[in-house]
Amino acid sequence: MAKIVAAYGLPHTPFYPSQVIEEGPSSPTGKMFARARESLIAARPDVIVIFDTDHYNTFFFDNFPILAIGIDERFRGPVDEPRGGMTVYDVPSMPKLADYLHHRLVRAGYDVASLREFVADHSVMVPLHFVNPDMKIPVIPVYISGHVPPLPPAERCLAFGREIRKALEAWPENLRVAIIGTGSFSLEVFGPRINEGKTDSVPDPQWAADVCDYIEAGDIKTLLAKATEDRLHAAGNVGGELLNWIAMFAFTETRKPDFLLRQMEQGHAYAGWRLD
């Protein structure tokens, strides 16, 4: 069976790769990603499953699934020219495992779209850039629609994560799996609430701080009760990215994280759990 060896919550701010090159690995962002990278590498995963919200590059408005999984030998990204530039990677995946997960999820009542010959944007590639050096570890992307209303309920995302965990634990081969959930807690990007002269803002820093407090306490029950669709939208036009963290909490449940590093000026945090 597969063993879940670690889980992480990480941001995917598009300019971080270029910023860390410019400011160096000892910059705040460089050090926070290094903390996650060191933990993930020490956990020796054979595969990474990442929960992400696509930013209209893998999908588009004419066909936008609530839930989806990438099933192919490889995928490429980022395809959206993140500000400041970053390496475009060819990422290996595990189509046999992804196909198995797809079958298990649909049979369990989750109408998950399947993707083949797909590309990914910065929202998948920025965290991988930092924690999966040279993309040596295969990656399976799992998509949750966290921007376009209607959003899936938080409870549904947690249950979806739990179904993936059950499926992984029933996988017949020995496999070490790391989980990533990526996104912001409070962030507005190119919407009416952005700051003067800027491309973004953190409209609700108190919510971002509260989310961090719940994670630090392992109190996903309260977080779930508070993370209504209206609450997520009030936190910014990408506030629904919290749903990727909530799906990831299916693997950590009420455990307190080994580390939680707050970056409140960007409305997000970095968290990690070793589970082996």
Binding site: E81, I194, T199
Partner: protein, 87 residues
């Protein structure tokens, strides 16, 4: 209303570098192949982010206009205009 056409047009500013250049240099000519209403063309060519937002154009898609200097926009000007939408 052809909001999907507007969203698609904005995405092409990201994906098609020749179209990106045309949207900077001669946007009126660049948008000719698109099936847009007069109202939509007017708002787009004016870089009127607030009106486009009210029409339902996605904020991320409009961000490409600002990032890549289409329709006379840049980030500070875009921010000024989108911030005029009541919120």
């Amino acid at each position: 209303m052809s909001v999907n056409a507007l969203n698609r047009l904005c995405r092409e500013v990201l994906r098609d570098h020749a179209f990106r250049a045309a949207m900077k240099d001669n946007p009126a000519k660049a948008i000719e192949p698109y099936n847009l209403t007069q109202e939509e063309k007017k708002a787009l060519l004016a870089g009127d982010a607030a009106t486009l937002h009210r029409m339902g154009v996605n904020d991320f898609m409009m961000g490409y206009l600002a990032r890549f200097g289409a329709c006379g926009l840049n980030v500070p000007l875009y921010a000024e205009r989108i911030r005029s939408v009541p919120h």
